[in-house]
Structure formats: C-alpha cells, structure tokens
Amino acid sequence: MKSLQIPLETATLANGLRVVVAPDATAPVVTVGVYYKIGFRLEPQGRSGFAHLFEHMMFQGSENAPKMQHIKLINSSGGVLNGSTMYDVTNYYEAVPSNALERVLWLEADRMRALKVDDENLRNQRDVVKEEVRVNVMNQPYGGFPWLDMPPVAFRNWANAHNFYGDFADLDAASLVDVQKFFRAYYVPNNAVLLMLGDVDRKEGLALAEKYFGTIPAGAAPPFANPAEPPQTEERRGNVEEKFGTLPAMAYVLPKRRSAEWYAMALLDQALHGGRAGRIHRELMLEKQIAVEADGGIDDLFGYNGPAQMTTRILHKPEYTAEQTLEAFDAVVREVREKGIGPEELEQIKVKWRSDYYSTLEGGRGGYMPRYGLMHLLACFTLFDNEPQLVNSILDGFLKVKPEDVQAAAKKYLQPANRAIVFRTTVAKNEKEAT
C-alpha cells in the first residue's frame, strides 16, 4: 500500500495570521485560500443570512481594489476564484497560473486590511442573494431540503437552528454599519489562515505572506457565541410544506470532533450511505424498492466545529407513505445496532475511505479547482485543531477502527433521542414542532 505524504511549511505571523504552504511543482498552478473562522452558525441574532451576504460583500471592493477588481484581476491572470460560507468558516480562494501568486496575495491582503463598500453595493448584492435563494430553494423541487429545513427542528440553540440563507426581512434590515462591524470583529488576521498550495517554493511562500500580510494590524479576539446544545431527551419531529411531493429526512447528531467515536461514526456513515454498496441504498432502492432517491450522510466531516449531523434524505415512490419509508429506514438502523458490521464489510469500507481521501486532497471541487480539498482540510485542521499536520496522519485514525467500535457508535448514536425527523409534506399545516 502506497501512502501519500504532503510536505508542509507552517508559520504564524506577528499579527496572529497562520500560514500554511504545501509546495508541489508538478504543474505551474497555485491554489491560494484565506479562511476566516466565522460561518453562518455564529452570525448575529436578528441578522440571519448575514455571514453569507457578507461573503458577497467581500467581492465588492476593498481599500485599494474597487468593486469588480478582485474578479477582474484574477480572471485576467488566467485564474478562477470563489468564496463560500459554511457553518464555522468562510473561505475565499483562487486557483491561478503560478506567475500570478503575488497578485493574488496582494488582493487577499487588501481585503483583509479594509473593506470599502457603499450602500449601492449592499443593495445590489442583497438582490443577487435573493435571486440565489429563489433559484436554489424556492424555485427548485425539494430546494434546500433538508439543509435549511432540518436545523430548526433538530436544534434548540439559535446558533444552530436559524435559517442560514436568511429571512428576507433580516436581509433587508442589514446595514453598512453591520457590514463594517462584522468585518472588524471577525475578519482580523488573528482569526484567519492563509494557504498556498502547488507551484510555490516553501521559503518564498512564507516570505510573501510576511510581505503582503505582515503589516495588517491584529484585532481583538473575536467574540464567539457558545454553540452548545442543551441535552436532547427524545426524538424531535417537524413538518414543512412541499408543493412537489412528500419525503422525510432523518438526522443524527455526531460524536465530538476527533473523539474515538467520531472516527467510528465516519465509517458507520459509509456503511450506511457509501454509494450503491451502502446499506441504505441497497435496502431502500435495490431490495425493497421504496425509494426513488435515498442518499445523504455526513457532508463535510472535517469542516464542523460545533454540533453536526449525519442526515439521510429519502424520496419515496408515491405508493408508499412517509411512515412506511421511515419504517424501512429504521429496519436498516436496527440491524446495524443489533448486529454491527462484519470485518469484511469494514475492510472494504476502509479501502474506499483511503481512496476517497486521496481524491479529496487532489481535487474535491471539479477538474478546474486543484487542491480544493487539501486547502479545506488544512484550513480546518489549523483553525479548529491548531494542527495542520493532521492532514498526513488523520487517515490512520480511521484505518484502525474495529468492527466493535462501529457497533458501539451505532448503539450510542443511532437512537431516537439523538435524532430529528423532518417530513416534507403537501399537507397545508405547517407545524414547526410536533413533539
């Protein structure tokens, strides 16, 4: 078995900015990422959707680069860029030919130093975000299900339970003052990590980080609300109206990040949701043939720094009810709780896990965004664990999981008092809470 080791160079600048360089000169391209440790989970109350709206504002102009300058300069350097808002981080990233590295660093440093936006920019991006919500959620069959519908049913802490795309009223209420306040609180070098991956020399990378980011002043330590949930004692259920058809989604809260149970749970997730060999696909699609779609799982295992879930979403055939679907799902869960999974099944899952992990490091977001996965993992391991080297060692934690660990995780975590169910139904009632 060949293993993969990623050479890393890391440093922390005087202003607290962490820097990670992963050199690999195979192709003359470099991926640059800046991750801020703030996501939609911890956006201010009364400002739902703000973290995502703010991400859009980061493309609207900074100290020395007016609106559109970021996009124009990256594109005209032959590169691509984007940003995304997640639960606990927001990222901004570029993949460019390596001769544009300094330009990219200059741009990222410029918008870390100061944001320069006006009311017109804010109005415009509010409109763009609303169209994003319409195209992805309101005008799509089952749009936003269950990622937007599950949190209010499953969680009690506002941080975890609110609408992450934002209520339109909250989006409308957001002001430029909010934008600058949010920027000053969270977009400080001591709350971020800079990553350079690919065609960059390790020493040169660190020197360039110092050159462009070194003079940005550190900010106060950002205030973080506590995302902890009160203990759950019984199953939670909710209903959401649906014009297209009916389907349920079930979600179990995960063990704590990097605990022994967390590794076992990740492989249990693969036993259940790992493609066509996974038990849920096999039982609901191939054997019982109840479902038209049965998928889900843990969508970004390494990317959470607070309560997270393993979610299953089942679109059933019209001749079955949501209850029958749930019964079939429960039978799969019962079997794994009572009998666990065999050593042969676990071995297969581990080989697949290793293979998938390599692919994540290499790409992870299409053929034209090299090393996205490596960037994401390095950023999360730095910001959440303060240990970027985990990228080279974390695989071992999964490969040493034993069948009995998987069954123990199933018994402890796959139980009603640890789960929530959302039914998306055509019924006119719209109860938030049924239990």
């Binding site: 005209s76 763009v128 390599y358």
Partner: protein
C-alpha cells in the same frame, strides 16, 4: 445602460515570468482488435482515472427510442454473467473504486477511478461490464421504474424545461431535438431493446479507452491488451440525419409554470462543432460575452443591476452540430429588462470592436484556466478524451494557448456577427404566464406550452 468599466487599482503587483505549461506525454495505441487507447502518467495521488468511450449514444437510436442509450448504460452495471449487482458494488468498494456508466447524444461511456494497486481487477471488471453485461430482468424493471420517477420529477425543474424546449426548437426533426423520453415511451421499453442497443454500440472498434494516473504506461498498455485484446466487434453503421430548421426573426416559447417565483430565460441559435476552425475564436468571444464571471453579461445583469444570481452563456458542441445559448434565472418583474440587456450586449459585440485591454484580459483568462486542469488526473482525462473523441489535431492542447493569444478585435467582431445571431435568436422563458407573457411578447410572437410540452396558445 453601458456596462461600467472598473477603475484600475494602483499598486497591483505585475505578473512574474510565466512557467511553461507542459502537458504530460500521451501514449497512443491501438489494440489488436481495433480498440483505440490513450495513456498518460500523472502521479499526483496513488490512483488512476479511466474512461471507456463508445462513439454512439442517443442520436444513433433516436428513431427507435429516446433515452434508451442512457437506460442501457444504467442497467449495464447491475449484473454480468459472472457477478450479481450486489457483488459488483461490493467489489468496487473492495478496490477503492468509483464507477459510472452513462450515455449522451454522441457517446456512451463507462468511467472509473481507483487505487493504482488494484488497477488489474478494476480493468477486468470494466471489461466484464463492456462485454458480458447480463441485463437481469428484475434489475431492468427496477431501473425503468426508477427512471419513470426521474422523468416525472424533471418536469418540475425550470432548467430542464427550458433546455428541453430550446433543443426542440433548434433541432426540429434531427435526433438532437429530443433530450428525454415521455412516461409512455419509457413504459413501453423492453429488456431486449437494451440488449440490442448494447450489442450495437458496445464494440471495440467503436471504442476509445483513456487512462490517466499513477502507473507505468508500457505496463498499463500490456495490461489493457491482456484484458481487452480478445474482444471482437464492428462499429455500427452511421445514419444520415435531417437538416436543421432555419429561422427568420425571433420567436418566444413560454413554458407555463404556475406560481413560479422566478423566470428561467434560455435563448439560443445554431453554432459550430469543436472541429470547426472557428471553435477557438468563438470560445474567446463567448468567454468575453457571458462565459466567465468577469464577462460583460455578468457585470451587467448581476453586478450592475442585480437581476440574477448566475447568468451565463456557452457554446454546446455536439458531434454533428453546435449551438450557442445564454441563460439567466431572473425576477419575474425584470424579464423584459433582462432580455433587453442580453441582446444589448450581443448587439454591442456585433457592432463595436472589443477594446484591446479587455481582449487581453479575456485571452489571459481562457489560456490560464485551460492549464488549471493539468493538476488533477480527472482534469487531464477530460482534456485527452475531448481531443481524441472530437478528432482534434495531435497538438491541439499544446497550441491552444498560442492560438487564443493570437486573436485580434476584428476576429471577435467577425465571430459575433457570424454566430451570435441576434436577429434570429429563439427565446425560451419558463415561468408564470400571467406574470411574464406581456413582457415576453415584446421580443417576438409567443407560443405557450405547459410543462408536459403541450401547446396552450
């Protein structure tokens, strides 16, 4: 109305010297049975990616059935003479492999990726699927039933409804007009129909195998010969296809989607295939118009006006014909305003030469992004497969960047005039008739359809 030119930032670091882009060397070979093979090394991770293409898909059999090539590909992986569906899926997992089978208008393909240490058993499994698929009755019934639900669901997706209508309009009696079967058609398919398609399309003489990854090419070629070498079969005969409809003036096709909170716009006209020498200049013209984030269309209707989240344009190259299209999902009250801007930007490209600095930016973008695919096995496979399937010149990848950089404003003006056929564009809008019909009628005579494709007025 003009797109605002961004002010230039001061202090932007200059680009440093460009490092040469070197594409990995390809090994081209033909096995004793006629199977064409392209191999390339890429050692980014201890895995390899492969795809076994067959040069025929839906278009070849569309006189018999729509969607049958895709259904054949779907059922293909559910059993061979030696393995059941469950064994196939578990064997894939054991090899750390992913596998997919699909069909488009012009090709059918089995794509796969796995750990290099298990290259031989994975290739043997692919070989088995390509030659000895069993099409078990029960699996066929299940997949057909599955497909029926998908066919119902896609009729609720505005993006699907728009594409379906535009393809019907642009391609008329040509096979490319049909992108999805009706429920009735699908219900009438028999298992034996799939077996016939399988025997016709899945032959070595009709095939192209592309392998990219962490392996030694000579050893891999030997392995391919030992796995696929004894397979025999001729390619299917090509069929003549009907001429395309011609258009005189714009026309609007409204697909009524009651209660829709947004309108999906999709407008298009005929264009060219990848083999056409105009492909690269047209690609650059499209990139500047609406193919990149930094393009005129995105700057105008997203960043300036806020009408839409993701407007874009593209040239779709099918093997026999290509078409140009522009799409945007917009607020219901700005359908007319959005179409006005869409055509304004097209007409501007057709009448005013592109300023040199804007052209240079677009050239840098297209040539730079082209090389980003170099860094992943999957990106390389896509490029090698595209070159081979479209029979592009051997040096296509190596000379692409120079060809892009050699283009002048006059070339783009010529491309826009030749292919962005503004006066005869066919316009599809999917949305609530009561909110958008009047706006749409400003752009041409309106035909109204329901989401099942039935004409309403």
């Amino acid at each position: 109305m003009a797109t605002r030119a961004p002010e230039l930032a001061a202090g932007v670091p200059a680009l440093t010297a460009e490092r040469a882009v070197t594409w990995p060397k390809r090994t081209h070979a033909r096995l004793s049975n006629g199977l064409q093979v392209v191999l390339a090394e890429a050692h980014s991770i201890p895995k390899f990616h492969g795809e076994l293409f067959f040069r025929a898909g839906e278009a070849l059999i569309s006189d018999r059935a729509v969607g049958l090539a895709e259904l054949t590909a779907t059922v293909l992986r559910t059993g061979t003479n030696a393995r059941t569906s469950r064994q196939i899926e578990e064997d894939l997992r054991r090899l750390g492999a992913d596998l997919g089978a699909s069909a488009g208008q012009d090709t059918s393909a089995i794509s796969f990726a796995g750990l290099s240490e298990f290259a031989e058993p994975l290739l043997r499994l692919v070989n088995e699927l390509a030659r000895e698929a069993a099409f078990p009755d029960a699996e066929f019934e299940r997949e057909r039933r599955q497909k029926l639900e998908e066919v119902k669901l896609e009729r609720t997706s505005p993006g699907f409804l728009a594409s379906e209508r535009l393809r019907k309009v642009l391609f008329g009696a040509h096979p490319y007009a049909k992108i999805s079967p009706s429920e009735a058609k699908l219900a009438a398919y028999k298992r034996d129909d799939l077996v016939t398609v399988y025997r016709e399309i899945y032959t070595p003489e009709n095939a192209l195998l592309v392998l990219v990854g962490d392996f030694d090419p000579q050893a891999m070629l030997k392995l391919a010969e030992s796995v696929f070498g004894s397979w025999a079969g001729k390619k299917p005969a090509a069929k003549p296809t009907p001429a395309l409809p011609q258009f005189h003036g714009r026309r609007v096709y409204l697909v009524h989607n009651p209660g829709s909170v947004q309108t999906q716009i999709l407008a298009g006209c005929h264009a060219i295939t990848r083999k056409n020498p105009d492909w690269i200049p047209l690609g650059l013209t499209n990139s500047l118009y609406g193919g990149a984030f930094n393009s005129r269309l995105v700057m105008n209707i997203r960043e300036d006006k806020g009408y839409t989240y993701s407007p874009r344009s593209g040239v779709s190259p099918l093997r026999e014909h290509g078409y140009f299209s522009v799409s945007a999902a917009v607020r219901n009250d700005v359908v007319a305003a959005s179409l006005t801007e869409i055509f304004y930007e097209i007409d501007k490209l057709r009448s005013v030469p592109v300023p040199e600095p804007e052209l240079a930016d677009a050239q840098n973008y297209l040539s730079g992004v082209f090389s980003l695919g170099l860094a992943t096995q999957e990106g390389l496979l896509t490029q090698f497969a595209t070159s081979a399937l479209h029979e592009l010149p051997d040096d296509y990848l190596e000379t692409y960047r120079d060809k892009v950089r050699a283009l002048k404003p006059a070339d783009l003006l010529a491309m826009a005039r030749k292919y962005f056929d503004s006066a005869n564009m066919q316009i599809v809008v999917v949305g609530d008739r009561t909110q958008i019909e009047e706006q749409a009628s400003l752009f041409g005579e309106v035909e109204v359809y329901d989401n099942q494709g039935q004409r309403l007025g």
